[in-house]
Point group: D2
């Protein structure tokens, strides 16, 4: 059994990692850390885990340790980091030096350019060597690189939903590289578990808002990096995130301009071909996908539609932001890094309704 | 006091009309009709109205009568029709012939061309004379026509949010007329009160979906008609509606391509100038509007933002779909038709939170 | 026009007071205060108020001033205090000394005994003279006292829903005074606008919990004080609050044991008689009340039902916690203190759906 | 592998059974039936199941067959019936005669007395022989009977939450058998997937209501039957169901009168002892359970609290109505009937948040 550590286990992404790892046949959770809850049993922070992790062989269940490289390296073969940006780049080099596999679920290793990172995140990058060896962990696009990597940067939730919607269109050259729009809508868990007025139920419930529009959101350069890879040229996109009164789920409506006329059937065939053999992408031929149809699972469901009146192709893309948009994709990446089938431990039916 | 009738009073739009008319100083509800609830006291269908309409001088409160022109004409000076499409065009000619003012909140008189109407709604138009005299009731754009009209076609909820977002940009020529996208998100009350799997709580809650995408939604030609008026040329748009797990509210994110560089400040100034003297449009200079900020009120809040990276201008537009998107706008139209200040009875503060 | 001040205007209760006062024909908001938002225009804290209060004659709308007695006394005839407990008892004596009418929406003057107050709220009462003159502002039960008072303690939201459910039963002697249970369920706005994990959308949405059970909630002694008044003897109750994933609304299910057999019809008649002439209590004869049926209004809807199998009478009681449970009842109290009809400014139809 | 059939697979309970059975190591779904969706692939009715059941060896995934005993008996060893009441009693005798194990998730075999069944469900019982052999499938109370049964009546969702809250108190004799109250609150999925005004999002969202109060709900006699078993005498209870704006979850607040003084610690010890070795009941010693803490899992979390002021003990009980309240408990029963560990296939961590 591979011994796994989760640094930052008491946020929404951390606790979802623990849920998924519990059912993993080849891994067991050997250590968890938490800054503010250090020393507390997990079941005290999250009563819903009562009794769940006693089988890990840890008396009294999991107890949060310190977020320190040495402490983790002593206990784990693989470390997931679900930390605020800036924290992972402090931890990763020592873990890598100790020969550990590392999956970072934060932003520190997603952007290849340290300069671009600094521009968007307002901090210097202090682990440029590690950054140079990091692989962007979107397995459907970079799976081979992931399999060979020691450090994988798990994509952001929005970028996952956007890139999977765009890949078949850009890599085939069917659409213009200019004028691409991603209108994305997310549930609240994407904002994390820290309290704030922006996640107050009274402010979110029965409400809908856009935020960080017009190129202000930090996921913009990450989306553009992947799309530029796909197209083989620099691409700028319009990305508009919205906050929806639900807990889980991202739906992205992506707009592209066709270079030549095409039918919906042709584009569906293109997507089906492109994602052949990719178990977590379901190209939907009838009907449009809804976020509830992937809730709790690692699926990304996609439905492309051609609008012949305007010469556009539109793609609806849905994921569970905490699974395919975070913890599930991280486990998928770990599987590839360990030479396992990428589906291992991820055979989750959506929870419906 | 003007005697007002509401045909189709027991749907969500009808009951919202009654809420608003109750506070109107120059009008009183003299008659209501309801197909399926005929003969029932309103307070039986809607217990929340218990005691509210006894002041109308009708013993026992309002009782639903038949949806017939003669019955309404005998009792009312103005008739609001909140009926399924196809029903209003049967009723309107006789009401107009009897000298009544009519505001139709359905689709029958929104599209100037009977042929276009038939193409989208799959029924023949049987009141082409009335249609010829109908005025599209978006007061901020067609206010003078409304003031002179006997028959006003109250706009759809989505088209209201889209047209108000587009008007300053198109009438000024600042943006391209091609490639306009309206990505709209609506609460569930826009689908009406009839039960169905699509509005089942178990299917809507904690879920988000797109529907009628790629030019399939019936509000598309209505939006295009208004935008073509504004631009002075035929315009095709991409319009994508979504269903959000909330009861009230529409947020439209509108995307336009700038013809020449402009700043956000310039565009805000353009909007402010354009809507000067329009009491129900609030151009928001700081922050982005949220649906909750207009809930229960007749406001449309607008925030334009320039994305200099992509040469786009984006407008966030919010309304309460049952007020500015339906009943409130209908009362605003009635006010203009009667020569009253358009704000009469509509001075409603948003209900927050 | 009576000049009204709102101390603590930027919480949920404060902003609801402003919404209601805006439609009041005999009062105008002359001053608002806010601790953390002092110096800010109201429209900056609450963008939904943009343009709403310019008619108050204050350039740029309302600006939050300091929560100081002298500042308020200079500007107002009546002061509403929507402050954390402990703050109102510091402010009230000076306002009363200056001849002002005061309505406190917090807990400082609700419990007649300073000792009981200290036991539950863990602070000394520093305004025992003011406390001695305070009247408990549940107008349906203490209306005459309110009319004569200078200082009114506006009841808590839960106690309002409980006391109105119990009053006809206890004052008639129909039920036992022992064994009374109030199982209450509240929307989240009752917890106020301050952020915290307990009001985080991710924790509240799709969730239901009980809290402060088994006599731990501070509203328990307040409920018992009123019920003891009604029964003429000391009463202890079981009060269990729950948090429901909705923004507004309280539903209390109250359980009583009949002293002698009675039918539902008899009990409904008793309630109808008891609340004759009380415009804000609607005794529902058919169907059971729902919170949505009073949302945004000052109504308390009540439905008693006899369970002949168990010899119990059960009462379902619903209010909007921010209106009849706070701001609306405060305006009702002000009306009585000023000799106005208690309905003035409160003729609000519920917002449905 | 045991071949399992699900009759009535396209309701909320049916689809949850399929989710759970998919992870069961000793069973595979061999047949599904659906009245209204007969002949349709499951993935057409529920797109979220796309690709999930191809591993069942059925080309194109599961296709709904007819709800007929012979068709099911040919294909299955065990049959789950998730049907409207009245339908299961038509199907069960033939399945039993064919030697099948049967778990009925409806009401037909829950009440031991056919006369009581008829009084509450208004239909004659046509399978009294099968009824005589049926075992009430609450494994924590009737586990031995379940293990020996061919026909198990899976309890209702409310009764499960109530009976588990009451069992330690009644079987120990600590509380009075009179005056017991269950104030239960349920999410909407308990009402099933059929559309109706009562489950319309616009009517349920931001709303709370009680229904079928004062002994009118059909789960009342079922609760009383189990409690009478526990106490050894006939018991009448007050049971009040409420509808909460959430999809899944039941929270029951149960009120009992102590026969002698006891502390919370003593009562927690009593519960812990009583449920020793019962893997799906978690007695919570700190904090109160919330419905979200069991969502998607088969747990029932319980927290008893003594109110020394009133001499009462209150128990908060939470389940996921579709899992421990229906499909999960049914699988637990199947496990016992097959001689498997009751946890088989049910080791599900709650989905949080």
């Amino acid at each position: 059994m591979v011994r796994v550590g989760v640094a930052g286990a008491t946020g929404y992404v951390g606790i979802e990692l623990l849920r998924l790892l519990r059912g993993h046949p080849a891994a067991r959770v050997a250590a968890v850390t938490a800054e503010s809850n250090q020393g507390k049993p997990l079941s005290e922070v999250f009563p819903h885990t009562t009794g769940l992790y006693s089988s890990e062989g840890l008396a009294g269940g999991l107890v949060a340790g310190p977020t320190e490289a040495e402490w983790l390296a002593d206990r784990c073969d693989v470390v997931f980091m679900a930390l605020p940006h800036g924290a992972a780049m402090k931890l990763a080099p020592a873990l890598l030096a100790a020969g550990k596999k590392v999956v970072d679920l934060g932003a520190d290793f997603r952007l290849r350019s340290a300069a671009v990172y600094t521009r968007w995140y307002k901090v210097e990058h202090t682990a440029v060597d590690a950054l140079a060896g990091a692989v962007y962990g979107l397995p459907e696009l970079y799976g081979e690189g992931v399999a060979a990597a020691s450090l994988v940067a798990n994509p952001g939730c929005y970028p996952t939903s956007c890139a999977l919607a765009a890949a078949p269109l850009l890599s085939s050259g069917l659409v213009e590289t200019r004028g691409i729009i991603f209108d994305s809508k997310s549930g609240v868990s994407g904002a994390g578990r820290s309290p704030g007025l922006g996640v107050h139920f009274g402010e979110v419930n029965e409400n809908l808002k856009a935020y960080s529009v017009a190129g202000e959101h930090r996921h913009t350069p990450e989306i553009e990096q992947t799309l530029s890879d796909l197209a083989g040229e620099d691409i700028l996109v319009s990305f508009t995130p919205h906050l929806v009164p639900m807990t889980r789920g991202i739906l992205t409506t992506a707009y592209f301009t066709l270079r030549r006329p095409a039918t919906t059937a042709e584009v569906i065939a293109l997507f089906t071909e492109h994602y052949h053999g990719k178990p977590f992408v379901r190209v939907r031929t009838a009907g449009l996908p809804q976020t509830k149809e992937v809730l709790g699972s690692n699926y990304c469901d996609l439905a492309p539609r051609v609008d012949e009146r305007t010469g556009r192709v539109l793609v609806v893309s849905v994921i569970d932001n905490l699974v395919k948009g975070a913890a599930g994709q991280a486990v998928q990446n770990m599987n590839l890094m360990l030479g396992l089938d990428e589906r291992t431990g991820l055979d989750l039916a959506p929870v419906y309704p």
